[in-house]
Amino acid sequence: MFLDLNAKKTDKEAIIDSDGNVLTYGDIIAEAETFSSLTKPRSVIFVLCRNDVGGCLGFTNCLLSCNVPLLLNVGMDSALLENLIETYLPAYIWKPSESLKSGEVSIFESYGYALIATGNEVYPIHDDLSLLLTTSGSTGSPKLVRHSYSNIEAQARNISAFFEIDETERPLLDLPIYYTMGLSVLYSHLFVGATVLVTDKNVLDSEYWTFLNDNQVTSITNIPYTYELLYKLRFLNREYPSIRIITQGGGKLKDEIYHAFAEYAQRTCKKFIPTYGQTEGTARMAYLPAEYSLTKTGCIGKAIPGGRLYLIDENGDKITEPDVMGEMVYEGPNVTLGYALSPEDLALGDERHGVLKTGDMVKMDSDGFFYIVGRKKRFLKLNGHRVGLDECEQIIKGAFDVDCACTGTDKKLMCYVDEDSSIEEIRRHLSEVTGLNYMYFEVRCLDKIPRSSTGKILYSSLNKE
């Protein structure tokens, strides 16, 4: 069975949320049996989730009943959601009961979530397909990442190996479960029979700290921005004796913060483990073993167990000497099947055969450790979330009568337009559609968007900051 869930102690707590809901391993199996009896197998199911027991059940119910979930933020922009529904025609939707619209009838409700049959027919999808995640949830792009069953199982096994986790772990999961790294915390810990503590509170909520302190949390996993907040909140002045592992992913941590957490971990006998990953690699692909965290500041480490990392040059040839920049390639059992842009694509099999060009420009030091230098593809990671720049240009052009070009850094997206009358509206629109704070966007006016003779935007001539 998926993640060997039926081999765990049935009365062991599997998931506890900050609303007080508790789910045992036995409950997970029982819930999935009910779910399975009510759904046609191999359906595409949209799971609109919060970080709570019901949201996690959306994932386990679908996987255990041989259905394929697309995990989405329940708070995503409704127009973007409608667009995804029209594109992928899910047969069912699992979402919080309170978000039911008039006329929607649930066929099953559990832990505050409802299952709705949309009336869409079940259509052919590939036997290996297990899970769908968005490449850029915030821009509503219909481009999805297709995961296989073995992708998730390999990732669960390999993550639990390098974190050295077992059934005594109690990870705090406040990263969204529709986000690849958040989801990996869930399934890797279910795989080892641990107890996942899930919350949609964040470090600026007092309930977060109550939940953390009351539940003997053993690990925290977060993105760079949250570590900056924890640093400001003087997290490092306190002990938290139950915490064993502090791990980070979703972008590069500032050296100062990286070092402060590495030192704190050493002082308090915890492990600080930075990781690197992408949705296309079923979350993690590299990690820095805790013993190197003080000597290899800013490093993403080496490939996770079962995987291999190397660099290639512009011709696609392998780079073997150290300190030369190249595109990083990952090979391993967690490399996903490929993308989907339409329902027909869900019938496709494995298009990558275990090899993923990451799009990240990387250098390797003489000890064989990897350092990210830049990025080849046109996206930013704002607050840990991938935001496609071309998609943002489409969003703006779709709503305003302007020409525009988007560029920027992981701190801020810079949007250049050729018309100054709606600068504030564009900024507000980007914030509303992506659900990200408006401070992540700046809109500037130019006389003309610079283009080459063939009409391509000359991004190199635009200031990124």
Binding site: L204, W209, L229, R234, N383, N437, M439
Partner: protein
């Protein structure tokens, strides 16, 4: 400018709220832009505007327009009715 006006102006500016909004209904996690990113920016702006330094507990419990006033009062900022 009264302290209340200063407080409101800081909220409007930092959270990019249209002037006509009823600010007494503002709530963190609900109102546009008042998420964790907006909250940190708001705290910094209020600390600067009122020359105070919030304790972590106050920073965490500050979730509504009214709570902000109560917290500022603790730091000796007077709000005349």
């Amino acid at each position: 400018m009264s302290n209340l006006a200063k407080y409101k102006k800081t909220l409007y500016d930092v959270l990019a709220i249209p002037e006509e909004t009823d600010c007494s209904s503002l709530e963190r996690g609900v109102s546009q832009n008042w998420d964790s990113v907006g909250h940190i920016a708001l705290i910094s702006a209020l600390e600067e505007a009122f020359d105070v330094m919030f304790e972590i507990e106050d920073l965490l419990s500050f979730k509504t327009f009214d709570q902000g006033i109560e917290i500022l009062k603790k730091y000796g900022i007077m709000f005349e009715d």
